[in-house]
Symmetry: C2
Amino acid sequence: MDQIIECVPNFSEGRDQEKIAQLVKEVVSTEGVKLLDYSSDKDHNRTVITFCGDAKGVKEAAFKLIKKASEIIDMRYHKGEHPRIGATDVVPFIPVKNATMEECIQIAREVGEKVGRELSIPVYLYEEAATTPERKNLENIRRGEYEGFFEKIKQPEWKPDFGPQEMNPKSGATVIGARNFLIAYNVNLATDNIDIANKIAKAIRFSNGGYRYVKAMGVELKERGIVQVSMNLTDFNKTPIYRVFETIKAEASRYGVNVIGSEIIGLVPAKALFDVADYYLRIENFSENMVLENRIYE
Amino acid sequence: MDQIIECVPNFSEGRDQEKIAQLVKEVVSTEGVKLLDYSSDKDHNRTVITFCGDAKGVKEAAFKLIKKASEIIDMRYHKGEHPRIGATDVVPFIPVKNATMEECIQIAREVGEKVGRELSIPVYLYEEAATTPERKNLENIRRGEYEGFFEKIKQPEWKPDFGPQEMNPKSGATVIGARNFLIAYNVNLATDNIDIANKIAKAIRFSNGGYRYVKAMGVELKERGIVQVSMNLTDFNKTPIYRVFETIKAEASRYGVNVIGSEIIGLVPAKALFDVADYYLRIENFSENMVLENRIYE
């Protein structure tokens, strides 16, 4: 696969296996994409599908998925704990290899336009594809949820980017956009004191003066009797893993606490780990081109 | 590519571009393999080709190369600084991904048998494929070189593993085998004192009591006014890069010397770098399956 764009659409159906299978089938049956993962949560009544491919492939698969969801999911009967505004709730496109953010923004626009026009579903562009600052943040768009959107959509500032300025009762509305790869990363501390985890989380997260691309909070791991700093790293190229890890180590030592270890949740791009090796080994001439597998799959 | 076996044959021709191109063409024209690199040295009068593929592909390409070399290279007229005993001098098979050493040993045997039978070239199996302890080491086999082999081959202990027990005057003999991936890795020291580099090299290399899979020597980098510990890591799974790097750092500090940085020469498998990231980040749950690209190219 020369070009890798990841797409992680979220659907408002997490209980009916037959419907979930129909969605997954749309990915598997599309040329130029590869299904990486899918997982459903019954409480959330929601399914997340992860697939990747080239621009043409992800565009086609994303549209087919949104169309299929509009046929088999009816929001009028949807209940679940997770916030949502539509059958296809949110569709991010993520540049991974030989793809730029600009390309992913363009894909989000093209898919959004087609969804609005052919399926009569209102579409909002978010994150890097957002058309106003208020639409950058997903939660900002989604506030009010499906039920509240029948009113919210009438406000001039919430006119959709594509599609009709009225809710589609069966399918709701859909948020489509482009963002960086998100790494879910946790660092475990040799203490059961949640205050220390919370203080370190505050020290490193953007919202309190920390690193630009870190979201963090303290979490208790009751079974293990320890606490952890639980994070989302939203741009590992600009705020690399090793810098966050070393800062947490330094902050923890200020409390006389050791770092036990760390955890990666879900997937991590190879480059994020190469950067770690490059940093600690102080490699003078590192290039991704030195990696055997990169030569093979170039 | 599901399975990756690397093959790095060495040929006794490094000057005639037309002949070198004919060899490279044998790789490019074989299905199931990918050419990664080729480089020729005029002084050594020798060409090294690097390619990889699945078992079937590397077997076919390796045989085609040896056959072509037997047609276009005539050892009776070969001069060069590098030790050699044949037109195709040495052919290692290296397991990289979804391949075992046993499989590579089997490939070496099959190719060796066919070369002996169809091309009448004496073949010696070496390294992991060796049939006696004396044949494990390439230099041990190659001692005497092409010129001396007309006599050496007559000795019972140097009866070839395959092919006739007499030299092929035009093609010489060929060494075929299986080995681990070799990483050429150097660590640069903030001193111009070559004694320190030599002492550290002795501390870490196998031959003087150091790590089992490290070959090392001190080297002066005159232009930069520093010295380096220059190494071959012959099994990064058992003697990982980070352990060698940390040991050199500790040994250097004993002389009050800092480590400036390190260099990777040539290619490095992704796993060798993932291991480094895993170690320094103390990742508790690391698996290669977490790496996005491994999911895509599995």
